[in-house]
């Protein structure tokens, strides 16, 4: 017998499942190891693992990756973890826990023994290859049995049964589910929901038999087993998994004569104390208020209350909500509160059933229609988080609650993160409120990761991940906006406001703008935020050459030198190759220039050629030769129209239906030189095969038999976004007029450095609003937008052509104003036959 070695009290935790582990975490977090010497017994070989995601074990996750903590977590925190040791009795008289290996004295005990799978008392249920689904060892047994099997049956069509069915499918067994009740998941869904669930699950190739009571299991003819049902019908299968509910592992408590429930479970009070105050119970073994909670979130709440009780606190367990959001066999199922609507008299329902998309949603609301009492979702859980917030926080429903479950269209009411009160629970596993998330942000957290680390929100079942992100995003945004709406310290205006000021007042220089509208608190020099932004606005409005003396100090280095600075201070040069079409003669010139100036060449994603490694002082000579050969600047350095990518189209392609190259060249020449809040990429495809990938561009044009379809606001890059169809079957002139308006509306209203995709996502009213403005002229500004675009187009000139003949503009293209030597620190080396920075 081991005796406590210090004056610390001995705490023994029996059971190392998710809830038992959570208790240990809570105790560590609260410094309980100062007061207690803690020993944990786990019957299984594995330390606590994530049972919620057990079926992923067959999808490639191993015990290690399912584990709730690192292997040395317990040891590091001074806690003794005794795995694979079964507690056989509680000797309350001696104050000892008896295991299959010894006796251990205790001062306090926590029972966290969980539950075991219920196997219905069917003759033959103990045959070989009749298994259960609860532990990793069970899964190993199922996997071993499945090797010799081709068919499998799960007895039980509830939550765990469907999980088990998924596991059998994952083992490539022909799978069937047998449920005693007349529908699947009888606890969570009603008849309609159950029927829809059946259809969806059968569509996955899983046979569903409901209303079937198995009478006997015997030798099969074609398979290992034969199941005989109440109507004498039979089903043959090689493997049977029982998953017909759980029962509390309460034998230790029963033998120790603790107070038990009539149908099992150790009775606990609000502080998780059993009838013996030295002994606590938590999780699925515990019976609180005559209820057993078979979900992880209530178990965690009990663990928290138990930890507090052990430390002498007053925190109580006050019951838990059994709302669940699941993905079973890939099918979304959600149940909130009183989903069946059978409790209060006068409750009213809204139901929505779509048998084509296979979605079912039901709301149970109070008789006055103001509160959500329950909800049921099958096929799509997208509305779960919103509904859960209405339910758990008792928020008043919108005037027409039906809108909450009608098919989502833009503008449908969703409960934004800002509408939630501070005491709204975001993560129910760890009981994290919106208020505590805000407190973390106030304390300096600046991203989702640090909020998760400090509050532990979304680290339990993970069901709140999307909601948590939206709360964090929204709150961060709110803080950012609160801090400062203005573009920088020099202007108390947003980019949009500055744009309107410039346009309406006809302001043509930065100096004038900062004098009339700049903040009086600064020196008035501007900065690297506002100067390029104003330069872009001035260019969008008046399109004067950016190399003019008044504008040059505003530009980013790339615009100043009309080339793209690379990491060693050299530049890359990208001449325009409209539509990606280039003559052999011009190709030769590019090669010759690259050879002469020692440039590295690479083909870009926008169908042109990038020449890297140009020294500052060589840029004018390089451009002299390029312009001589008929090239013009490509604006690769600007926040401006970059390229119009195209496929070869009807000119050559067997499938092309329109001249995509011709249209691409027309568009590129029309919009080249347009400066905008961010870069703009276009593409034109000659048929629906979409070889130009137009749907990933700001402006995408795809040929149809009758003309062109226009897509807008797509993006590749870091956050890809499919462009949205904006207008269809346009002729050439219609297409251009719509693009004129669209682009100028974007230029006017977007934030600085905001691509069209992000602009569109933040646009109030969304795509419909954009269509109203651009296609229906709802703001009455289209004429103005078109005229403004025409001004930009009329004032276009190649910036390089304007610069190379102007000695004043070339002044800066010198390595040193007082010395002709090139920068000696630029050193190159050779790689794959080309030069690169050393």
């Amino acid at each position: 017998m081991n005796k406590p070695q210090s004056d610390k009290q001995q705490l023994i935790i029996i059971g190392n499942g998710m809830v038992g582990h959570h208790l240990v975490e809570q105790l560590i977090e609260r410094g309980a190891t100062e007061q207690y010497r803690i020993t944990v017994f786990g019957e299984e070989r594995h330390r606590a693992y994530d049972r919620v995601h057990l079926s992923e074990y067959f999808a490639g996750r191993d015990a290690q990756s399912l584990a709730m903590c690192d292997a040395d977590f317990y040891a590091e925190n001074g806690i003794e973890l005794r795995l694979h040791e079964t507690v056989t009795a509680l000797d309350r008289d001696q104050g000892e826990v008896i295991t299959d290996q010894g006796r251990y004295a205790y001062d306090r005990v926590v029972l966290a023994t969980g539950s075991y799978p219920f196997v219905p008392p069917i003759p033959g249920n103990d045959r070989e290859n009749c298994l259960v689904y609860r532990t990793l060892d069970d899964l190993d047994d199922i996997r071993a049995a499945a090797e010799k099997a081709t068919t499998g049956v799960v007895v039980g069509g509830g939550l765990l049964g469907l999980e088990a069915a998924n596991a059998l499918r994952g083992l490539d067994l022909d799978t069937a589910v047998v449920e005693f009740a007349p529908r699947l998941m009888p606890m969570q869904v009603d008849t309609e929901g159950g029927e829809l669930l059946r259809e969806k699950i059968e569509a996955l190739g899983v046979q569903v038999l409901t209303g079937r009571a198995t009478q006997q299991i015997e030798d099969g003819e074609a398979s290992f087993h034969r199941m005989v049902f109440q109507d004498d019908k039979v089903l043959e299968t090689d493997l049977i998994v029982f998953s017909a509910g759980i029962r509390p592992r309460d034998e230790l408590a029963r033998d120790a004569a603790l107070e038990m429930g009539e149908r099992g479970g150790v009775v606990i009070d609000d502080r998780c104390l059993t009838s013996d105050p030295a002994i606590l119970a938590i999780g699925e073994v515990a019976l609180w208020n005559n209820s057993i909670f078979g979900l992880v979130a209530p178990g965690y709440q009990m663990a928290k209350a138990a930890a507090d009780t052990l430390l002498g606190g007053e925190l109580t367990f006050e019951g838990a909500d059994m709302s669940t959001k699941l993905k079973l066999l890939g099918v979304d199922v959600g149940a909130i509160g009183d989903a069946h609507g059978n409790q209060p008299p006068g409750a009213r329902m809204f139901r929505y059933l779509d048998q084509i998309k296979q979605e079912y949603r039901k709301l149970v609301v109070s008789s006055d229609g103001k509160k959500l009492l329950g909800a049921m979702l099958v096929g799509d859980n997208a509305t779960y988080d919103t509904l859960m917030q209405y339910y758990s926080n008792g928020l008043e429903l919108p005037e027409d609650p039906a809108a909450l479950i009608l098919p989502s269209t833009e503008g449908a009411p969703t409960l934004g993160a800002d509408a939630l009160p501070d005491d709204a629970t975001i993560c129910s596993c760890h009981n994290v409120t919106k208020g505590s998330i805000c407190a973390t942000l106030d304390a300096g957290a600046t991203d989702l990761g640090s909020v998760k680390a400090s509050t532990r929100a979304s680290t339990g079942c993970g069901g709140c991940a999307a909601l948590l992100k939206s709360v964090v995003d929204h709150e961060l945004e709110a803080r950012g906006v609160e801090v400062d709406q203005s573009i920088c310290e020099h202007f108390a205006h947003t980019r949009q406001e500055l744009f309107d000021i410039v346009r309406v007042e006809g302001i043509k220089t930065f100096g004038e703008l900062v004098e009339k509208h700049g903040s009086s608190q600064t020196e008035g020099l501007g900065c690297d935020i506002c100067k390029p932004a104003v330069a872009s606005i001035l260019a969008s409005c008046f399109n004067e050459p950016i190399t003019d003396a008044a504008h040059i100090p505003l530009q980013d280095t790339n615009d100043t030198f009309m080339a793209n600075m690379q990491k060693n201070g050299t530049y890359s040069v990208v001449p325009r190759v409209a539509g990606g079409e280039i003559t052999p003669d011009k190709l030769v010139v590019l090669g010759q220039v690259a050879q002469k100036y020692g440039l590295y060449t690479k083909i870009t994603g926008g169908q042109r050629i990038d020449l890297f490694g140009a020294r500052l002082e060589d840029l004018p000579d390089i451009w002299g030769e390029l312009i001589e050969a008929g090239f013009e600047t490509g604006h690769a350095y600007g926040k401006s129209v970059r390229t119009v990518k195209s496929c070869v189209g009807s000119t050559w392609c067997r499938y092309g239906v329109q001249d995509s190259v011709g249209m691409a060249i027309r568009l590129e020449h029309r919009y080249k030189g347009l400066r905008s809040p961010h870069k703009l990429k276009f593409a034109v495809s000659g048929c629906t095969r979409e070889c130009a990938e137009a749907q990933s561009k700001d402006i995408g044009v795809i040929a149809t038999e009758h003309g062109w379809n226009l897509y807008v606001c797509g993006n590749g890059g870091m956050r890809p976004r499919h462009a949205e169809l904006f207008a269809t079957d346009l002729d050439d002139d219609q297409l251009i007029r719509i693009i004129d308006r669209f682009l100028m509306f974007y230029v006017r209203t977007a934030d600085r450095l905001q691509r069209t995709s992000v602009w569109r996502e933040n646009l109030e009213g969304g795509l419909d609003y954009l269509k109203e403005v651009v296609l229906e002229d709802s703001l009455g500004i289209n004429e103005e937008l078109e005229a403004q675009m025409q001004t930009v187009i009329d004032n276009y000139e190649c910036e390089w052509a304007g610069a190379i003949n102007d000695p004043e503009k070339l002044k800066r293209f010198r390595s040193f104003v007082n010395d002709a030597r090139p920068d000696p620190d630029i050193i190159v080396t050779e790689e794959r036959g080309q030069l690169r920075p050393a």
């Binding site: 020099h490 020196e523 506002c530 100043t560 002044k811 010198r814 040193f816 007082n818 920068d823």
Partner: protein, 124 residues
């Protein structure tokens, strides 16, 4: 220039002509090559006509990228002090003492420069 000459004798520094006013770009920077007692250096010269101090000379070398590019950065003022933003990774350096606003441990070398008529002079 008289006081500067007097100082030069005690600090073994001398004023040298660097370039002309016409070589500068108003509200922006250009690079110049100088020989100092410690060896050659590349200087970024910033010209802010109409401001209290019209001329600044700081190191042309960007300590974060190692490239000689500071003269090509955007000039501005932050919290009341004139600064230049590195064109590579966008850190800000104060023009009067070279200190980096984003990293206290980093600073650019600074020189004193002034106009003598149309001539730009630097003390090295």
């Amino acid at each position: 220039m008289n006081s500067a000459t007097a100082e030069a004798s005690t600090m073994t520094q001398t004023w040298r002509p660097l370039c002309t006013k016409a070589d500068l770009v108003p509200h922006s920077g250009v690079a110049a090559w100088i020989e100092t007692p410690e060896g050659p250096a590349q200087v970024a010269l910033f010209y802010l006509p109409g401001h209290a101090t019209e001329l600044y000379a700081v190191d042309h070398r960007d300590p974060f990228s190692g490239a000689n590019v500071i003269a090509r950065g955007i000039v501005g003022d932050l919290s009341g002090a004139p600064v230049v933003a590195s064109p590579i990774y966008k850190q800000h350096f104060r023009l009067d003492d070279g200190h980096c606003l984003e990293d206290e441990a980093v600073r650019l070398r600074c020189w004193t420069a002034c106009f003598k008529g149309d001539q730009v002079m630097i003390r090295v």
